[in-house]
Symmetry: C2
Subunit: 274 residues, 2 copies
C-alpha cells in the first residue's frame, strides 16, 4: 500500500491527477483512512491506471474511459467508439492541415507583398430567406449605378405599398456567369418578413442560401470594388474552392446622399470545395 505521493512517483502521474481521478470515480484508492482521509493505493491498481493512460493517449475523454473501464463493453461497442474517434481524429487532422496551409499562405503573402492583405475573406453560411426581387438588364457600365438605385426603389416602395415588412439588408445579384460588357442581367432583392402578392415587375421568392459563402467587406466608394473582387476571387482559387452560383453585393451601409466614403458593401460568392 502506497501513499499518494509514492504512488504518484511510481506511476508518474501527478498527485493532482490522481485525486481528480478519485473524484471522478475513475480510480478510487484501495483504501481511505477514515480518520485522516489519507488515500492508500495498491500496486495492483497500476494496470487500471495504465489502461486509463493508454485510452487517454487515444484521445478519449475521461468520461468515456470511465465507461469503458467499468461497463466492460462489448467488442462491437468498443469498435464503434474507436471508429468514431478515428473519424473525429481524421477531421481534426484535416482541419489542422487546412490551418497550416492558411498560415503558410499568409507567410507567402507576407514575403511577397511585405504587408498583410487588405481584404480578409471569410467563409459564412447564408440562410434561405424570403425576398421581393426585381430583374433588369443594364445596357452598359454607365447605367449600373442609376439602374440599381431605380430598381431598389421600385422593390422597396412596392413592399411598403403592399404592407410588407423589410426584414434585412437589400442586396443585388449578378446573373451572368461571365462578366459581359453590355446587357448585364441583374437582380435587386429586398428581404421581407412575410409573403406579399407579386406583380409583373416584382416577384416574391424564397431565395435559397448557401452553406459556404465566401465573403469580403469593402469599405468606401464603389470605385474600389474591383480590388475587393480580385482579392475574393483569388482567395477562392487559392484555397481550392470553386464558384457555385450567382454572386451578391449586400449593401450594409449606403446612403444615396451621403459621402461614398462611408459606404460599406459585402461581396459574396457561394462556393464549394475543389
Amino acid at each position: 500500500m502506497f501513499k499518494i505521493g509514492d504512488f504518484s512517483r511510481l506511476s508518474r502521474v501527478s498527485v493532482k491527477a490522481l485525486r481528480y481521478y478519485d473524484e471522478l470515480g475513475l480510480l478510487k484508492p484501495m483504501m481511505i483512512d477514515r480518520w485522516t482521509g489519507y488515500r492508500y493505493y495498491s500496486a495492483e491498481q497500476l494496470p487500471r491506471l495504465n489502461r486509463i493512460l493508454a485510452f487517454k493517449e487515444l484521445g478519449l475523454s475521461l468520461e468515456q474511459i470511465a465507461q469503458l473501464l467499468d461497463e466492460n463493453p462489448s467488442v462491437e461497442y468498443l469498435r464503434g467508439m474507436l471508429r468514431l474517434k478515428q473519424a473525429e481524429l481524421q477531421q481534426r487532422l484535416q482541419a489542422e492541415q487546412a490551418r497550416l496551409a492558411l498560415v503558410e499562405a499568409r507567410l507567402n503573402y507576407l514575403e511577397q507583398e511585405g504587408t498583410m492583405p487588405e481584404y480578409e475573406v471569410v467563409l459564412k453560411e447564408a440562410p434561405t430567406q424570403l425576398v421581393a426581387v426585381v430583374r433588369e438588364t443594364i445596357p452598359n457600365w454607365e447605367q449600373v449605378h442609376a439602374t440599381f438605385n431605380r430598381i431598389f426603389d421600385e422593390a422597396t416602395s412596392y413592399v411598403k405599398e403592399h404592407g410588407g415588412q423589410v426584414n434585412g439588408l437589400p442586396f443585388d445579384r449578378w446573373l451572368d456567369l461571365e462578366m459581359p460588357e453590355s446587357n448585364m442581367h441583374v437582380e435587386a432583392a429586398v428581404p421581407i418578413q412575410a409573403a406579399i402578392p407579386e406583380s409583373d415587375r416584382v416577384k416574391v421568392v424564397e431565395m435559397e442560401g448557401a452553406t459556404n459563402m465566401a465573403s469580403v467587406i469593402h469599405h468606401g466608394s464603389f470605385d474600389g470594388l474591383s480590388n475587393a473582387y480580385n482579392a475574393l476571387l483569388h482567395w477562392i482559387d487559392a484555397n481550392g474552392y470553386r464558384v457555385k452560383g450567382h454572386n451578391r453585393e449586400v449593401y450594409l451601409q449606403y446612403e444615396r446622399t451621403g459621402a461614398p466614403v462611408n459606404n460599406v458593401t459585402e461581396l459574396q460568392f457561394p462556393v464549394e470545395k475543389v
Copy 2:
C-alpha cells in the same frame, strides 16, 4: 447602427461572442447607450471583425489577435509570430497523426484478436537515481529466482548495515543484449537516499534514467512474465521504437512468503524513436 442581434446576424457571429469580444476590448461597439447599456455597432466595424475571424482561423488566441489589431506590429514581428504558429501547428499535426495511428492499431488488434489487449504499454520518464547494486552471473534458468532473492537480500542488508535509507522500489537489470540460455549477467539494484561506502560486492552508483521508458505492468506469478515481455517488445517494434539499453524489472509488490498471484512487476525497456 445595428443592435447586437442584427449585427450578429450580419456577421454570423453569435451575440455571446460579440459581448465577449467587447469585454476583451477586441471589438468595442461603436456606441453604448449610457442609460440602457445597449450596444450599437456600425457596418464599418465589419472589416475589423472579419480580421478577427481570419486570425482566429489561423489558430491565434484572442489575446494575440488583440495585439495584432491594436499595435499594428512590424512585418518582422508578424512573420515571427506566424512562423511560431506554423511550428506549433506542425507539432500538433504530428501529434494528431500519431494518435490516429494508435487508434488504427487498436482497431486492427480488435479486428484480429476480437478483444482488447491484455497489457497496456505506456511511455514514461525514468529519473536518474542513486542505487546500491550487486552484480551476479546466473548459470541457468533454474537458478534465476533463488539468485535474485539472494542478491537482493545482500544489497538490502548491506544498505541497512551501513546506515543507508531505502528510497524506492528494488529492481533488477538484465545486462546481456541477447537472451542467453546460460551465464546470464544481471544486477539487483536498491535505490538509496544518500551515498554510503562501497564494498567489493556492493557498488553505489548514480544509475541514469531515460526519457523514454516503455513499460508494462504484470500482475501475478513470474511464470506469466514472458507474455508481458512479448507484448512489450511487440509494442516497441510496432510503434517505431528501438531498445536503447538494459531492461529492468521493478518489483512493485513482492512478498517472498505471499502467494505469487499477488506479485506485481513492472517491465521496462529504455527506447528511442525509429
